[in-house]
């Protein structure tokens, strides 16, 4: 029986030779992850399970990233609760100064390898499909039970295949491919399905592009967003000190619910306009959108390659006098590498503020919340109404080239216009 990549990973995790979409399974997880936001609820649920202990402290990780460094007393207390729980159970705990945004930190620290099943109490856990791991967002109750049993029940999703042909032009990145894809299928287009990204266009993109694409699979409603692990993945994983992992591929005759083909040669950078990620327009057709703020980094585009892209545009420029720009590296390591490469210098000279790693403004938390009526271009993944602040503020999603160019111009432009 032919299997897709998603089915193969899940079959490994429940010791089944055959697995079909729609089947319910109880799978072994390789890692359970939570932030302070979901962790505090998971703890509450976990403590309701009489006699519960963490099934394997090495495989449960709490990463403090949403409202950290604590933005107010409440966030400080929630982090404190997580810290105390972590100490009590001996689980892995990443706090301010030693952490980063969870999805960037996990692969960076070599905590995951291809073929892993990751239950993350965060909807963007699908990110880890970029190395060929099945990452999926779970509720805090599921996270609590996974912490206790090391298991996660789920329904095997159908798979949809996306084939990208051709060589993308300069300024086009993974972010543009995924925005275009979501525009094509809609925010419901992959509801409870696994998105599998393939095609020769991928050879022109790097791991950070794959990262952005898998990261936004949830914006199409997907259960997971997967790339088959290949030599590029192997090099990435080895550089992070891991030799192991399951390098799986879909069978040639595997069944897909749908197959979409795209020619990326004609793509230009795309922008998702308010208030839903499927409202996507080519940047050239956007018209005149003046901005008040630009946010570059966070999880979707917070890798070193993303900061390099932004710095490439900003070098030698200063941002528009009306605009505030916030650069948020995805982790302490990304921050340090960017510092060593001189990228941070470029940002500061361009009048950007550089923040410690945090999810901060992406969910309207802190570090760049918007006032009424303000417009912002952001490299993040969601532009729902009020997502970054006031209900009348507007959020436009784009790649780091576009965000940086727009910060300079004071309105949303293509880097070509500079």
């Amino acid at each position: 029986m032919a299997h897709t990549l998603a089915e193969k990973i899940l079959a490994e995790k429940c010791d089944q030779k055959k697995l079909s979409p729609g089947q319910f399974i109880n799978a072994r997880v390789d890692l359970v992850m939570a932030s302070e936001l979901s962790g505090v609820l998971a703890i509450e649920e976990f403590e309701k399970i009489k006699g519960a202990r963490v099934w394997d402290p090495q495989k449960v990780v709490f990463i403090m990233d949403h409202f950290t460094p604590a933005k107010d007393i409440k966030s400080a207390e929630i982090v404190k609760q997580c810290r105390e729980f972590a100490n009590q159970h001996g689980i892995r705990f990443y706090d301010v100064g030693r952490a980063g945004i969870q999805h960037i930190l996990l692969p960076e620290q070599g905590m995951i390898v291809p073929g892993d099943l990751i239950a993350g109490a965060d909807s963007h856990t699908c990110t880890h499909g970029f190395i060929g791991a099945f990452g999926t967002g779970v509720g805090s109750t599921d996270a609590a039970v996974a912490m206790a049993l090391g298991e996660l029940w789920m329904k095997v999703p159908e798979s949809i295949k996306f084939v990208y042909h051709g060589k993308p032009r300069k300024w086009v990145r993974g972010k543009d491919l995924i925005l275009h894809t979501i525009a094509r299928i809609g925010v419901e287009g992959a509801r409870y399905q696994a998105m599998e990204f393939t095609g020769e266009a991928l050879q022109y993109l790097d791991m950070s592009d794959r990262f952005s694409m898998a990261n936004m699979a949830i914006e199409a409603g997907a259960k997971a967003g997967l790339f088959a692990a290949d030599d590029m993945t192997r090099a990435f994983i080895r550089a992070r000190g891991r030799q192991d992992g399951l390098y799986l591929q879909s069978d040639p005759d595997a069944e897909y619910a749908n197959v979409y083909e795209f020619d990326v040669t004609e793509f230009e950078p795309f922008v998702a306009v308010p208030f839903i990620p499927e409202n996507v327009k080519p940047v050239s057709q956007l018209g005149d959108v003046e901005i008040d703020q630009a946010v570059i980094g966070m999880c979707t585009n917070g890798n070193l390659e993303d900061l390099r892209a932004a710095a490439e545009i900003l070098k030698g420029h200063q941002i528009h006098p009306r605009v505030r720009a916030v650069v948020i590296p995805g982790s302490q390591k990304v921050y340090l590498d960017a510092l060593k490469e001189g990228l941070i210098e470029v940002f500061i000279e361009a009048n950007c503020s550089v923040s410690t790693p945090t999810c901060g403004p992406c969910l309207g938390g802190h570090m760049g919340v918007l006032a009424a009526g303000e417009k912002c271009i952001s490299t993040s993944n969601r532009n729902f109404r009020g997502r970054m602040g006031h209900v009348s503020s507007e959020l436009y999603l784009a790649n780091p080239y576009v965000a940086a160019a727009s910060a300079i111009a004071g309105r949303i432009i293509s880097p070509e216009e500079l």
Binding site: A52, R53, I78, G139, L363, R385, G389
Partner: protein
């Protein structure tokens, strides 16, 4: 035998009298250890002195979380001698349960122990320490037995409190003073602390010892926890009244009970019906080993006549049936040793001396014998009220001292009382009253049935229908028809279940079947609320709330806000029909909380496997995956759903839909009451 001496006395005086009368008689036994009445009197007085020396004053509350060990008995008498009010908590209760019971009673001291191995890893002393941080009044924690927590300075060793009895101030308690606050549950499951008096408890114990004709040569087995009135009054105090022996049983297990009966020559075996059923069905059960048994009391839950008969026959002893409640210290009625076979197995006997009973209708008017109504009781044994809860007290205790029991009963013309059901659980089907307890008793006696629960569910024609939820024994082949045929032979036609549904387990949070949960599992009737895209907190929570770091706050806002107006309009029984993307993204925690709070009973969705639905199962929402139903239902349609059977009916259009069946493990998750309950079961399986 009558025990007039103890008709107006305190718990402390009871022990002193017995220690003078039978100083060398053995009172307590635990394996090879023995405590005479004189030993217990000395230790209790010493402990009382120690507790007073700590600074505890008469009227202060002393909480106890201990298994049935000799030190528990000593503590009960010590508290009485020191004038302290005992607040016993069952060792199986968790921290939240205990805190709920301490919120009003505000104990100044807590006596606990550490034995994590016996209690799923829970160290009661650690829990006690945690509670101290939340309870400003709780000053002292006393530890019984050695443990690592014991070495902490903040915890006082029980032994170190055994002071010279000369330091004990003279007894201050009078028989009408409160001796204990024992908790029962209100109709919403909220704990209420019944204040029981010394005189009420001791005389109630004496009355039971009289009915059982107990004497000093009797040997009682301490099966039921001393933290409830059955254990403390009907077993421990009744034993003391008789000057008899009490074999302590720290952790109840049927094989252990059978061993102790055989090895220690137990004469008085009491327990809840389940204990007798477990003992009789145990592979170690040996009728000849029960030769010493003389009598005992079955009480604490409806007692199936077939089980009473079996126990009386197979254990060959005169088992009595008691009826009581925490608020009555507990015994109100009990059968007698010389009752005929029908009275002895099918009634709860007659009231104890000086306890009055009556049966009233819903207007509170007294009904003649033979008519059915709510049983009320009055007498020395009735509580003085609920601690710090005049409202709850007024609901059950009238100005003339009558206690409303909430149980429906008939007083037969010749005296014995029959309990027919709980007032709040009666099913009204087509004008007939059906008592779930009676139907459950029949079903439980059906071969192949392991457990059964009966609930009433709304119905347009009959008002309510009777649904029976059955768990079968392993390998039993029992069809719904078999069970119905069995019930038809034994029940009047109107009381036969309308439908039999099979479950893998019944949800028993805290040990009692959750009928509310079951009702929602078997049948729901309401209107549909149909949603398309993006029913999500991103849609229903305005942005101004989005920067709170506390997801629980979001759920509250979700309820408060105008954007979430639909949540406010929903009624219990309503059904959400979700076209797509229900509660995606960051709202997966929040949407179900808010929707459940609004009282929605079910969700029918195109695909229920969205991440958030699992939390919903956990909070009791039955979810069905049924794309056809989603397409065939319009907003506002009248809907009937049978989640356990996977049936959805659109009463407006007359269409019926069948949802996809759940796989076994998922069904189990739902049946046991959610993912957390399931995890608990799995962990228990692993540790076995």
């Amino acid at each position: 035998m009558t025990y007039k001496t103890f008709h107006n006395t305190t718990i402390g005086e009871l022990l002193s009298v017995q220690a003078t009368r039978f100083p060398n008689q053995i009172f307590l036994r635990l394996e090879d250890q023995r405590w005479t009445y004189a030993d217990v009197e000395l230790q209790a007085s010493s402990l009382a002195a120690g507790l007073r020396e700590l600074g505890l004053q008469p009227g202060d509350r002393l909480a106890v979380i201990l298994p049935n060990i000799p030190q528990y008995v000593v503590t009960i008498f010590a508290a009485a001698k020191a004038g302290l009010i005992l607040v016993p908590i069952n060792v199986r209760r968790d921290k939240a349960d205990a805190l709920a019971r301490f919120a009003k009673t505000k104990p100044r001291a807590l006596i606990a122990f550490s034995e994590p191995k016996q209690f799923d890893g829970v160290d009661h002393l650690e829990v006690a320490e945690e509670m101290r941080n939340q309870l400003p009044e709780l000053e002292f924690i006393v530890s019984v037995g050695a443990s690592k927590s014991n070495k902490k300075k903040s915890i006082i060793a029980w032994e170190s409190l055994l002071k010279d009895t000369a330091a004990l101030p003279p007894a201050v308690a009078k028989p009408r003073d409160p001796a204990a606050i024992i908790h029962s549950l209100g109709s919403m499951g909220e704990p209420r602390g019944a204040i029981l008096t010394h005189g009420g408890m001791v005389r109630n114990a004496a009355a039971m010892a009289e009915r059982m004709d107990c004497a000093a040569q009797d040997v009682f087995l301490g099966t039921v926890p001393f933290s409830n009135t059955f254990g403390i009054t009907a077993i421990m105090l009744a034993c003391a009244v008789a000057g008899a022996q009490l074999v302590c049983m720290p952790h109840y297990h049927p094989s252990e009970a059978l061993r102790l009966v055989k090895e220690t020559g137990v004469t008085i075996l009491s327990g809840v019906p389940t204990m007798f059923a477990l003992e009789l069905n145990h592979k170690d059960f040996d009728a000849s080993a029960c030769a010493t048994l003389r009598t005992g009391i079955m009480a604490g839950a409806p007692c199936p006549p077939e089980l009473v008969r079996r126990a009386r026959d197979e254990m060959d002893f005169k088992l009595l049936i008691g009826y009581g409640l925490t608020e009555a210290s507990p015994a109100v009625t009990i059968t007698a040793l010389d009752d005929g076979p029908i009275t002895a197995t099918e009634s709860v006997g007659t009231p104890l001396d000086d306890i009055e009973i009556k049966v009233v209708n819903s207007n509170g008017e007294t009904l003649p014998n033979g008519e059915e109504g709510e049983l009320c009781a009055r007498g020395y044994n009735v509580m003085t009220g609920y601690w710090d809860d005049p409202q709850a007290t007024a609901q059950v205790l009238d100005k003339d001292g009558w206690l409303r029991t909430g149980d429906l009963a008939v007083i037969d013309a010749d005296g014995p009382v029959r309990i027919v059901g709980r007032r709040d659980e009666v099913i009204m089907r087509g004008g007939f009253k059906i008592y779930p307890g009676a139907v459950e008793m029949v079903l439980r006696s059906c071969p192949g049935v392991k457990d059964a629960a009966v609930v009433g569910v709304p119905d347009i024609i009959y008002g309510e229908l009777t649904y029976a939820c059955i768990v079968t024994q392993e390998n039993a082949k029992l069809s719904a028809q078999d069970a119905l045929a069995f019930a038809e032979e034994r029940l009047p036609d109107y009381a036969r279940p309308d439908r039999i549904l099979f479950f893998d387990a019944l949800p028993r949070p805290g040990g009692v079947v959750s009928k509310e949960y079951l009702r929602e599992r078997v049948r729901i009737h309401g209107h549909s609320w149909k949603f398309g895209k993006n029913i999500d907190t991103d849609a229903i929570i305005p942005a101004r709330h989005c920067n709170t770091a506390d997801p629980r706050e979001l759920a509250l806002h979700c309820m408060e806000d105008a954007d979430a107006d639909f949540v406010k309009k929903m009624k219990r029984g309503d059904v959400i029909v979700a076209d797509s993307n229900f509660g995606c993204g960051s709202s997966r925690e929040v949407a179900p909380l808010a929707i459940k709070a609004a009282g929605v009973s079910a969700v029918v969705a195109k695909s229920f496997a969205r991440i958030f639905f699992r939390n919903a199962i956990n909070i009791g929402l039955p979810i069905l995956e049924c794309p056809q139903a989603v397409d065939g239902i319009s907003e506002g349609d009248e809907i009937e759903v049978e989640p356990a059977a996977g049936i959805i009916r659109n009463l407006t259009t007359g269409e019926q839909y069948q949802a996809a069946p759940f796989p076994d493990f998922l069904r189990r998750i739902i049946d046991v009451g959610g993912l957390l309950a399931y995890a608990e079961e799995r962990l228990a399986e692993k540790s076995n």
